[in-house]
């Protein structure tokens, strides 16, 4: 019966959100158009991150590395080689994907908390490389003057450009999560061991997913540089790696749009708080503690409290009991 629902009935939430997003610039001042552009970019970042977290059941605490690689690829190509913005986007996805391939090769050998440790460490590795490779990346000065073309220069056109790219990317990611591959990810999340015994090379699938996630993180980063007109090494730092984690947790990692909802809340809060204090990390830290303590499962989790999330089982499958049924 579930499957007979009409298209609109099934996709009303994203459709409503998309229509609101289309109408927004007409209704709000340009400062808030900036904020919404940021929401979309970070929302894509969080959705891409959630491929690993919500779907595969592993917690990557280093996705900012691929976001940063994407941002720097676009930045360098635009500033040093005068490439047009649109041409840099696919290249950014490829470079971020290559980065994810190299580092993910090691990460997918581990599960659970060990996976997290390694992603944190490799995230910082990328940060250090970008930070110290002064001649190429500008070191801690970052790259300035990443200007989008004239037709995208002001806030509203860039917002619409971002909206289109993020929407297309989200639809592709959604298709991936609904494909047999996406269900294999859920299977790995639910029961890694069983998935091996139905003949699936779990490490290889995890690596592929890691690469896909890295590519879309890179795309989000690529949108960021021209939006902000500059990139800095902080984009790949540990603080920024925590952002999508928190967004996904706040919005609800078991719903496709959860991370995007998390991005709306988080980015709004950021825009609001940074208006009157420089101590955003302090405030966000306190918010994180309250959210984690008081609403596990996120916004969608609270909504569905009585249903899906009631049977509380760990998302991560990292600490599998090794000897299940050994006589």
């Amino acid at each position: 019966m579930e499957r007979k629902k009409s298209f609109i009935k099934r996709y009303w939430l994203p459709l409503v959100l998309f229509i609101i997003a289309l109408l927004l610039p007409a209704l709000i001042p340009s400062f808030w158009v900036h904020v919404f552009t940021e929401i979309l970019i970070l929302g894509l970042f969080a959705i891409a991150f959630n491929l690993i977290f919500g779907y595969m059941g592993q917690l990557s605490f280093g996705q900012a590395a691929y976001y940063g690689i994407g941002a720097y690829t676009t930045g360098l190509l635009m500033v040093k080689a005068n490439w047009p913005l649109i041409a840099t986007l696919p290249v950014s996805m490829i470079t971020a994907g290559i980065g994810a391939l190299i580092l993910g090769f090691f990460c997918v050998r581990l599960r659970g908390v060990y996976f997290s440790i390694l992603t944190i460490a490799f995230g910082q590795l990328v940060f250090f490389i970008i930070f110290q490779w002064y001649s190429f990346t500008g070191g801690d000065n970052g790259l300035q003057g990443i200007n989008p073309p004239d037709w995208l220069f002001s806030a509203v056109p860039y917002y619409y450009f971002t909206l289109i790219v993020v929407t297309i990317a989200s639809i592709i990611i959604y298709f991936i999560t609904e494909s047999p591959f996406g269900y294999t990810m859920r299977a790995i999340r639910d029961n890694t061991e069983r998935t091996e015994f139905i003949g699936i090379n779990v490490q290889r699938y995890m690596l592929i997913n890691f690469i896909i996630s890295g590519m879309f993180c890179g795309l989000a980063g690529a949108l960021w540089g021209p939006f902000n007109r500059s990139v800095a090494p902080d984009l790949c730092g540990w603080q920024h790696s925590g952002t999508p984690v928190f967004m996904a947790v706040m919005g609800g990692p078991h719903h496709f749009l959860g991370p995007m909802i998390g991005s709306v809340i988080f980015t709004f809060l950021n825009a609001f708080v940074t208006g009157f204090t420089e101590y955003w990390p302090l405030v966000s830290g306190i918010v994180i503690i309250f959210v984690v303590m008081l609403m596990p499962g996120g916004v969608f989790g609270v909504i569905k409290e009585k249903g899906y999330f009631k049977a509380k089982e760990p998302v991560s499958n990292g600490t599998n009991p090794v000897d299940k049924g050994r006589d």
């Binding site: 047999p180 591959f181 269900y183 061991e193 015994f197 049977a311 049924g325």
Partner: protein, 250 residues
């Protein structure tokens, strides 16, 4: 090596740290056979399965499948070559529905899991529904697998294994947790698969009626050593087997 031998182990041994769990097991299973391994708890039955399917690394000895050595292969490769197992404690995907559980296994068998862009719900509909029908789970297809009853979880466990279309099926206490009616249904299904499709089946079981009702060949494991082997009748007469396991129960 004889072609009709599907599974063969030579001097198969396993120790966990200093505990010897399985010692020098030489075992042969012919294609199309339905055989059981019996023995008291801790005899090493599950460990034997674990070594064949690559769950644990082998400490000593060899495993051959259709004459090819598969000792210490990766688990997914062993599954791909045609050995599938159903676990003693049901080992399913608790957050997916029963239907999605089975479809996952079918899609893996059909090597379609690398497909990134076709919606999974459009794929393998027919096969999934058929298998759910065969295993008696059709009316539960939209239930989240984590909340199924123990007996239904075991059926699903069997369905996941069957979906892999194995040549050799290892069943670890397939009927544990089932009612006597369910036990009978399940074992009839297993028998039918053996007779009609020619599936080779090796199972462990505690239920004496199941063992003697369905197995054509029995092997008795005791403290990790294979002590007796033969038809059910031969084993019934075997002194050693009686001493360590069957004695008072028959």
């Amino acid at each position: 090596m004889n072609n009709s031998v599907i599974l063969k182990t030579e001097h198969l041994s396993k120790s966990f740290f200093k505990y010897q769990v399985l010692t020098d097991v030489n075992y042969e299973l012919k294609k199309g056979e339905i055989a059981a391994i019996i023995g008291p708890n801790g005899a090493g039955k599950t460990t034997f399965f674990n070594l064949i399917t690559g769950y644990h690394t082998v400490s000593g000895g060899h495993v051959f499948f259709r004459g090819q050595e598969i000792t210490n292969w990766q688990r997914h490769k062993i599954a791909r070559i045609g050995i599938t197992r159903a676990f003693q404690i049901s080992n399913i995907y608790p957050k997916l529905t029963t239907y999605e559980n089975v479809r996952q296994s079918i899609l893996a068998q059909q090597k379609r899991t690398l497909n990134l862009l076709t919606p999974a719900e459009k794929m393998a509909k027919q096969e999934t529904l058929e298998l759910l029908e065969v295993t008696g789970l059709a009316n539960l297809k939209d239930t989240e697998a984590g909340i199924l009853s123990q007996g239904d979880k075991k059926k699903l466990e069997l369905a996941l294994a069957l979906a892999c279309k194995p040549a050799l099926l290892l069943l670890d206490e397939p009927t544990a947790g089932m009612s006597s009616e369910e036990t009978h249904e399940t074992m009839e299904l297993v028998k039918r698969l053996n007779k009609e499709v020619g599936l080779t089946i090796l199972f462990t079981e505690h239920d004496i009626s199941v063992i003697f009702g369905y197995a054509e060949k029995l092997s008795v494991l005791h403290q990790g050593i294979l002590v007796a082997e033969g038809t059910p009748e031969e084993v019934r007469q075997n002194k050693e087997a009686q001493a360590c396991y069957l004695g008072e129960e028959i």
